[in-house]
Symmetry: C2
Subunit: 726 residues, 2 copies
């Protein structure tokens, strides 16, 4: 990429965009996702009615592209169900969600609704699922769809309705069903595009755009100025959204350069011809694995014939439209960027999600209105891509529409994220670092898919009507923390430290920190050590009063929770509810009033029985639920005075639950007969600490509760003793 | 044993007893166990002072029987410590117990008090403990004893004292120390008797009785009339007692026949000469094992010399006094009885403890008073046995005194038993069915040992100054239930069902039974089934309202708890407190108001997924915390209607804690995604039960708490649903 092709945004020549293709003015544009805050319930009903019918009917029309019933039952690709499933699935989805919000109280058809409930797991290309399904006939499904259609229309016309339709409104299920069907409108169009040609046919309303274009313009880099990106919907936003769109996210974006055009088939051809698919050089490890599996030699919809390259569309193959955007998965797009970076020596990569938003804002775009989009979007212009220089957006083209654009960003939840109660696994399973966000929508992306707020993510090997725009930036593309702690112990402790209280028992780490601060009295509060800090709540709580607090734990996994809280201010974890069912939880330091205290906190991995020298000179050491988990508690007790300043305090809290798996029997501090008499752990504490400490006051019980499931808890009494260093 | 030797009690010729041997009138009798309710604290102090000195000094005088210091350090028998240990041990015991009641707050000598704290475990003859001990010198121990003596005397003279001295009085530790030393006075005398002759010597006050007697009279059986035995001390009894003497026990004793005399050496010789020790025929299995181990050929204190049989006493051997009682362990005594039974065809055996008490009462005996005993007891007459026809008691001789008498009865706790807080393992470890009670005391038994209430038990192979009296009775000698449940799960459930409530959570099985009875309303209450009854509390609780209640559980161990409650009315178990420390607990049906209900209860082992045909025709089935422990819960749900009458109720309570170890994942009722939606166990219950049941009312939470240790609990919410059989 020659350097002279890079221009500043401000250098952009103010050329007019080419004329858009002709639009069928006789048809109103495919309806936009409606305003759910419409206060007039009559109008609101009408809008929902139209939105439902528009979608339900358009979805059925898509299946007219299938050439006969057999096409419904043969799988287009081995990793997905045959199309008969998707024909029924979007109808069943309505029933399932309506059941959950209790708009209906009985199913229409138990058998069909079981058959159509769950798609094949397309999560991994090596997960070939050949389970046998006894599919119903097309006629049967069409009849079933008719019954669902009547059911939903009846509800829309007669069910009680209160405006607005928010998350808790039972009608949310109806809108969710419509938006869900719009997603499948696109994914089914991709499956049809993947079907053998003999199974497809042209159908009214699904013709590709006629403009195959000529040669695309040479791509060039245009500078995007630095700026602040703000995204995240409020929970009372008047438009429908999927859970991962809510909350808030703010990012400062450095200036970067972005390709003026999406990468065209022509531009991509250079990579193919350079042997990009034959060499592993430019591919990520994941990309190489996919290449080995797929044996791909070019983009999936490219067809090499003796007469040259063709492109597979939904229902036909056409001579390669070189000026249309190339359609690839993330792995191919990334390989292209790496190849280009190697060729040019520039830091070429895909944009992050935030960079795409910066580009969107810089291009001055807005969500689709009632007029046809000035973009190849929302089915407003036809059923295919168009040349990459058709729709200009600011200094760029196709910032939205034409094809989706892969980003570097694995999807993640915004601050304030919460799952929707009737669809708690829409996005949460994708918070795994393996699903990358695609932005901007394609020619068929509509409804929620076509708005700025939308956030869809797919496995990186997945095909959609998706391509990419490259950017050049020295800023690394960092993956935001999307991790949900799912390990049983770790998430139980996250809840134990930061979650709800149960049985009216107040927060244990908070109580201990409060007792510690009280006990300090007039003593200096410079440095505190929370030894065996686990998830770190007491460490943060101590920092309300101490200048510096160190949390130390033997487990790096626990330390990571504290570090994550310092870095991101939040902790995400799943809670086991019943069997395999979980709920999703996010806790932030801010909501606990600990945002400021976090600045005085640090966490280290360490061994309480063998502390590193730097952990010393403390005014307070807290050892909460620690001593009965040490392999050598006596050693800890006999040495801890070296870490505490004279007059400083040692707080020990423990339920004295001695277990051989943690502490060899010979190393227990108490809880056995010694010299024929009961020798308690408190006796052991006194004997070991007497040389350097004085016990202040009487031992006290501090209860704590650890939630194991929605119904099962550990309820324990820890004994707190406070010792003053002589 | 010819039949003509059996006489009725009433036939007993009213002959006068032979003259007792001369008593040294210059010495007051060895002090009796004092009245601890003496209201004048001056007098009470004086009595305790005298009792302490009398004992402490007499104990030291016993060690004058050792010939030089070496005798202290060579073990008389391999299974016990050398005598230096016992010399120090009784002093250390004072210190240990005084620490526990806080009469003192520091030890005299940490090292010695550790060395002298714990005796060698003499529980098993094959447990040879050769641990190395670095014993202190005799002079050192003597000096230590002097310090303890001064310490205790100082306390007796100056420590605050409130009368009476009961269990909770800190002075109880002093009296316990004295009584403990009196026990060791006897056991040490046995060890001295087992020492090699070269290590012993005669000592003032420890001479044997001079009356070696001639031939004993022929033994004969005397009928003991039927009667009621009442034993068990009140907790405010004015005399000291060990924990197992308290509570109450009442037994109806059938008439039986008892030997007029203890079995003499002469009488026992017939068994030895008949080859009793060479044949295994008459020995119990345990007796045979002991015989193989010990290679015994005759009683342990018999010495066979060329000039004939001799008897080893404490410090000398004498020609066999044939009229003295033979001294044997239980196993030998039992073998003699079996041999005699075989010879005579009569049901000869040892007496039970209750039969001994009946004999005691029939003989009209009372506890020792201030006058010398009319029995060879309490060191009142000399330091050895005497002829078996010396001391007449009613129609018998030596009902108390001379030598202890083995019984058939393994020791057990009376109703109302409780451990003493400063000595919780005095008797509890002997409630194992392997320690048999000895009764009546020996010539050296004194203090508490010499009173009717005393209850000492030893391993059956153990030697004491002990022999036996045989009885003839057709009544079996049943072993009372002494079993303490110590298995973790079993004792946790015993407490869960019958024990205390924690965190204010009321009894779970009681609550379920109450809810079941409420829900029954006006329905007939004939038959109820408690399926998965565990320890059976709900089974008993249901029997408050139902005519017949059956408890069924898969676990025989649980069923045994219910059966034991029906049979004995009580359940004994240990509670884990901290580490290895436990507390002891007894619960009775009577104190729960269930004594009468038990008559309508039965327990069976059974499989809820495969119930036997007879478990049917129930008005109520309760399945509490059952379904998530079944291997096939669906099968249970799909079939349970066959067991319930139309209109009857099924109560299901469960926390839905599905675990692979109990229920294969494929058999869970819920707690997973089904057809893409959350499918709870309640959904599963509804689907399975719908064909035959109707859900009554809303599900409700019923909490329960299971205590794991003093500080650690499971706190769980079980969901209760009530279903009516159509």
């Amino acid at each position: 990429m020659p350097q002279d092709r890079i221009r500043q945004e401000s250098d952009m020549p103010s050329t007019a965009a080419p004329l858009p293709p002709a639009v069928d003015a006789s048809a109103a544009p495919f309806m936009r996702t409606p305003d759910l805050s419409e206060p007039d319930t009559g109008r609101l009903r009408a809008a929902i009615r139209r939105y439902f019918l528009d979608t339900f009917d358009r979805y059925e029309s898509l299946f007219q592209c299938l050439a006969g019933d057999e096409a419904y039952f043969v799988k287009p690709i081995p990793l997905r169900h045959p199309l008969i499933f998707y024909f029924g699935h979007t109808a069943t989805f309505f029933v399932n969600k309506l059941m959950l919000t209790r708009l209906i109280d009985r199913r229409l058809d138990h058998r069909l609704e079981s058959v159509f409930a769950v798609g094949v797991d397309e999560m991994s290309w090596d997960d070939l699922n050949d389970a046998h399904y006894d599919w119903p006939s097309v006629a049967e499904v069409r009849a079933y769809r008719g019954r669902v259609r009547a059911l939903v229309l009846d509800l829309i016309d007669h069910a009680p309705l209160q405006s607005p339709i928010g998350w808790q409104n039972p009608w949310w299920a109806i809108v969710m069903g419509v938006e869900h069907e719009r997603i499948h409108l696109e994914t089914s169009s991709v499956l049809i595009r993947q079907h053998a040609l003999k199974y497809v046919r042209s159908a009214p309303g699904w013709a590709p755009l006629p403009d195959a274009g000529g040669e695309p313009p040479a791509n060039e880099l245009v500078r995007v100025s630095a700026g602040t990106v703000r995204v995240g919907k409020a929970f009372d936003d008047p438009q429908y959204g999927w859970d991962n769109e809510y909350g808030s996210h703010v990012a400062q974006i450095e200036s970067f350069e972005a390709g003026r055009y999406l990468v065209s088939n022509r531009e991509y051809l250079a990579f193919v011809e350079a042997g990009g698919y034959r060499s592993h050089r430019d591919w990520t490890e994941e990309g190489r694995q996919w290449l080995d599996y797929s044996q791909a030699e070019h983009p999936t919809f490219w067809v090499k014939k003796t007469q040259g390259w063709f492109l597979r569309l939904m229902t036909e193959e056409i001579p390669m439209p070189w000026s249309w955007p190339v359609e690839v998965n993330y792995l191919e797009a990334k390989a292209f960027c790496n190849w280009m970076a190697a060729e040019t020596g520039q830091p070429v990569r895909l944009p992050t999600e935030d960079e795409w938003y910066r580009l969107y804002d810089a291009a001055g775009l807005r969500d689709p209105g009632d007029q046809p989009c000035a973009a190849n979007l929302h089915l407003d212009h036809g059923a295919s891509s168009c040349p990459v220089d058709t729709w200009r957006h600011g200094d760029w083209y196709d910032v939205v529409g034409n094809v989706w654009q892969w980003t570097e960003t694995p999807t993640y939840p915004f601050d304030g994220f919460d799952v929707h109660p009737i669809y708690d696994d829409f996005t949460t399973p994708t918070f795994d670092g393996r699903h990358n966000l695609i932005k901007g929508g394609s020619w068929i992306a509509c409804g929620n898919e076509a708005v700025r707020a939308s956030r869809y993510a797919f496995r990186r090997h997945f095909f959609q009507h998706a391509g990419f725009r490259y950017v050049v930036s020295h800023a690394p593309a960092e993956a935001p923390a999307a991790y949900y702690e799912t390990d049983k112990l770790m998430s139980e402790y996250a809840e134990f430290h930061y979650g709800d209280s149960y049985f009216g028992v107040p927060s244990f780490p908070q109580t201990l920190a409060r007792r510690a601060i009280e006990a300090m009295g007039e003593r200096p509060r410079r440095r505190a050590l929370d030894l065996g800090c686990a998830s770190g709540r007491a460490t943060f709580e101590l920092a309300r009063a101490f200048e510096r607090v160190t949390g130390v734990d033997f487990s790096a996994r626990f330390i990571n929770q504290g570090v994550q809280l310092i870095q991101s201010g939040q902790l995400r974890y799943t809670l086991a509810d019943e069997g395999e069912l979980v709920s999703y939880k996010t806790r932030t330091l801010a909501e606990l009033g600990l945002g400021e205290a976090a600045e005085r906190v640090e966490f280290f991995q360490g061994d309480a029985c063998n502390l590193k020298p730097q952990f010393t000179d403390y005014d307070l050491v807290l050892a909460a639920n620690l001593i009965d988990r040490l392999y050598d508690p006596a050693r800890f007790l006999d040495q801890i005075h070296e870490r505490i300043v004279p007059g400083g305090l040692l707080l020990i809290a423990s339920p004295y639950t001695w277990l051989e798996e943690h502490t060899p029997r010979a190393s227990w501090l108490g809880g056995f007969k010694k010299d024929a008499e009961n020798y308690t752990t408190l006796d052991g504490l006194k004997d070991h600490l007497a040389p350097h400490f004085q016990l202040l006051g009487a031992p006290e019980d501090v209860p704590f509760v650890i939630r194991e499931t929605r119904r099962k808890f550990q309820h324990t009494l820890s004994e707190l003793t406070i010792w003053e260093r002589r």
